[in-house]
């Protein structure tokens, strides 16, 4: 039951994070007005209870982490979980795709942003054929765009493709 040093550090950090979130919420909740009508409790009562509960859970997690580690833990050995070790590149590619989409959405439009997201995600999952993936991603993005804008009149930005797609988007 002896925890590995690295493992225990992660648990301490995560437990500390929960505790910090709870504490921050508690401080915020305590500043809310307490005036209540007939019920005698104000809009601060439940926030204080929830924030207090989260703080207590943070303490509980911390105690577990410091006394032999969290109980019933997920294995740290990727092999044991039937997985491989953390692949930073893969994680970064998916993240890059999502960030690029946020940046491009209102500039290049939904379809192009979707294409970029698709290529980056496929790359993160191990495919390195950007041209083919871009074609699939753009087609999927276009199909979704047309369906949502034309049939469901959900507003999606057309961006750089406005000349082609017409005034369909925003």
């Amino acid at each position: 039951m002896a925890p590995g040093a690295g493992r225990s550090r992660t648990e301490l950090v995560l437990s500390g994070g929960v505790l910090a979130l709870g504490g921050f919420a508690l401080v915020t909740a305590l500043r809310l007005p307490s005036a209540g009508g007939y019920s005698g409790i104000g809009p601060n009562a439940i926030p204080i209870a929830v924030a207090g509960g989260l703080t207590a859970l943070g303490v509980w997690l911390l105690v577990e982490a410091m006394t032999g580690g969290w109980r019933v833990r997920v294995s740290d050995d990727a092999h044991e979980r039937g997985e491989h070790a953390f692949h930073a590149g893969a994680f970064a590619w998916v993240t890059a795709g999502l960030l690029a989409q946020m940046a491009l959405m209102h500039v290049a439009g939904f379809v192009l942003a979707a294409g970029v997201l698709f290529v980056c995600t496929a790359r993160g999952f191990g495919i390195v054929r950007p041209v083919r993936d871009a074609a699939i991603g753009l087609l999927l993005g276009l199909a979704v765009f047309l369906f949502f804008v034309k049939f469901l009149s959900v507003g999606l930005p057309a961006g750089w493709l406005t000349p082609v797609l017409g005034g369909a988007g925003i």
Binding site: L57, E83, A90, L117, F118, A122, F125, I127, V144, F148
Partner: protein, 500 residues
């Protein structure tokens, strides 16, 4: 009884209109597809489609959502049997025997017993739902706000603390969900809470962003980081789908026993099909005349858990529709769909929205038939769906996920929030925090607060109201027992172990 029958008949009149039949078909087809696809579940799919509620008529949309919920239970077995990667915890029991059968070239009968068993269990359970719902409604009409609050606390504790592997981690995600549910304007007083002056936060955290972030973005990040370089082996679907006479003889008692186990487990606010599926597996192993086959592909081990899974997912609809209490992540999102239309599920739903709710229940009867057709003769189609390369699958999932979040307010802010919840979902998955309690906390938390304050308003601020009402008092005692008893048992066991 005749009243129920009449109501159901009028429900069929609603569900059988061409447009609603079409929505039902779209729902069960989509549901089967997302059940088959690893990495996409019904909770995520309904959440991604929630923004559409603005455009669609409530009956059609809810029939479609129910179809997705239902269809995913059928589709999930295909993946589990052929790929041996249970898409959800409720399929783990099926994976034990199902994949072994597939490896021995008996994938066909395994899929058949899963689909027919799901049909049998699903249909019996819908009948039970039809009969039980009016009785529960009758009972629930007498519930006071204090009783409702106690019931919700009971649901919180069972979902977060009793079902998962770790009580403290389940409660932590529940409380994070409850905290997120408090963000925005307090409905009773108009007070801003946890909004920090950010205009986007005034409306509160949308369940779409939380659920899609945790399920889709978190899952994609996790899959890329830990699973993208693992080779998976897809078992081939060869030979006949036909079950032999022996297969039938061994399957049907398992279906019935599993229905008897699954449905009650679904109805009590202790949702999640995990316990009944494992229970059914254990029962079948005990009753089987061929216990030696267990672990090597025993057909009862597929028939039972799959039927239990379906029965319990139908059972979950009882507290959802009659009490407004969701006991699984998908049920919580279905509740959000109702709320989007300004409809609050609960006993009054059966009076104010009778045609909607009975139409929905009738659509479940139809859905089960459609699903049997979709999942037996058309099984080859779904096997092809399963062959979509993962990189493309996740690319597509992320396009739809971001679309769902973006279309809420046409705002990039929602995409940023979505990614933050994605990181949270990644961490929760990696370090063993269950996701469902967060979603349930977000949806059910504000309702619980309303009932709590209403109860205290009625009692003029006297908190003893929660302990003087018999229903409320017994539920709270039961809840306390659920937490304390396992803890006491553990303590005693530890003491015994020390003495020994």
């Amino acid at each position: 009884m005749t009243e129920t029958f009449d109501a159901l008949l009028s429900g069929f009149a609603v569900a059988l209109t061409p447009i609603n039949l079409l929505w039902g078909l779209v729902g069960v087809t989509l549901g089967t597809a997302v059940g088959v696809l690893p990495g996409v579940g019904p909770a995520l799919t309904v959440a991604m489609l929630l923004p559409l509620t603005v455009k669609l008529d409530p009956t059609g949309a809810l029939i479609m959502f129910a179809g997705i919920y239902y269809g995913a239970m059928y589709g999930g077995s295909t993946t589990t049997i052929l790929l041996n990667t249970p898409g959800e915890s409720a399929s783990i029991a099926t994976a034990l025997e199902g994949n072994k059968m597939a490896k021995r070239g008996r994938a066909g009968p395994a899929l058949a017993t899963a689909a027919i068993g799901s049909f049998v269990a699903g249909s019996i359970s819908v009948v039970l739902l039809t009969l039980l719902a009016p009785i529960v409604v009758e009972l629930a009409l007498r519930f006071s706000p204090a009783d409702y609050f106690a019931l919700m606390v009971f649901a919180f504790v069972t979902v977060a603390a009793v079902l998962g592997s770790s009580t403290v981690r389940g409660l932590t995600t529940l409380f994070i969900g409850l905290l997120l549910g408090l963000v925005g304007i307090d409905e009773t007083t108009g007070q801003m809470r946890f909004a920090f002056g950010v205009p986007e936060l005034l409306d509160g955290i949308d369940v779409v962003v939380l659920a899609v972030g945790l399920f889709a973005v978190g899952e994609a990040l996790y899959g890329a980081a830990y699973q993208s370089r693992v080779k998976e082996k897809l078992e081939r679907l060869s030979g006949s789908l036909m079950m032999t006479r022996d297969d039938w003889r061994r399957s049907w008692p398992a279906w019935l026993r599993a229905t008897a186990i699954g449905f009650p487990f679904g109805t009590i606010p202790a949702g999640g099909a995990e316990i009944p599926t494992f229970l059914s597996y254990a029962v079948e192993k005990k009753f089987s005349k061929h216990p030696e086959e267990f672990g090597h592909g025993a057909i009862e081990g597929v028939a039972g858990p799959e039927a239990a899974n379906n029965a319990s997912s139908t059972g979950v609809l009882v507290p959802l529709l009659t009490l407004g209490i969701p006991t699984s992540a998908t049920a919580a999102i279905l509740l959000a769909a109702f709320q989007n239309y300004g409809i609050q599920p609960g006993p009054l739903l059966f009076q104010t929205q009778a045609s909607l709710v009975w139409g929905l229940i009738a659509s479940l009867y139809i859905g089960n038939v459609l699903l049997l057709i979709l999942n037996l003769p058309l099984i080859g189609l779904w096997v092809k769906v399963l062959a979509i390369p993962k990189p493309w699958l996740y690319g597509g999932i992320l396009i739809f996920a971001t679309l769902g979040a973006y279309s809420l307010h046409q705002s990039v802010v929602d995409l940023v929030t979505l990614y933050v919840f994605g990181l949270l979902g990644f961490a929760m998955r990696r370090w063993g925090f269950p996701v469902a309690p967060a979603v349930i906390g977000l949806i059910l938390g504000p309702l619980a607060e309303t009932q709590f304050r209403r109860a205290l308003s009625i009692s003029q601020g006297d908190p003893s109201v929660f302990f003087t009402h018999p229903i409320s008092a017994s539920l709270l005692v039961l809840t306390a027992g659920l937490i304390v008893v396992p803890w006491v048992i553990r303590m005693r066991r530890r003491r015994v172990a020390k003495l020994a």
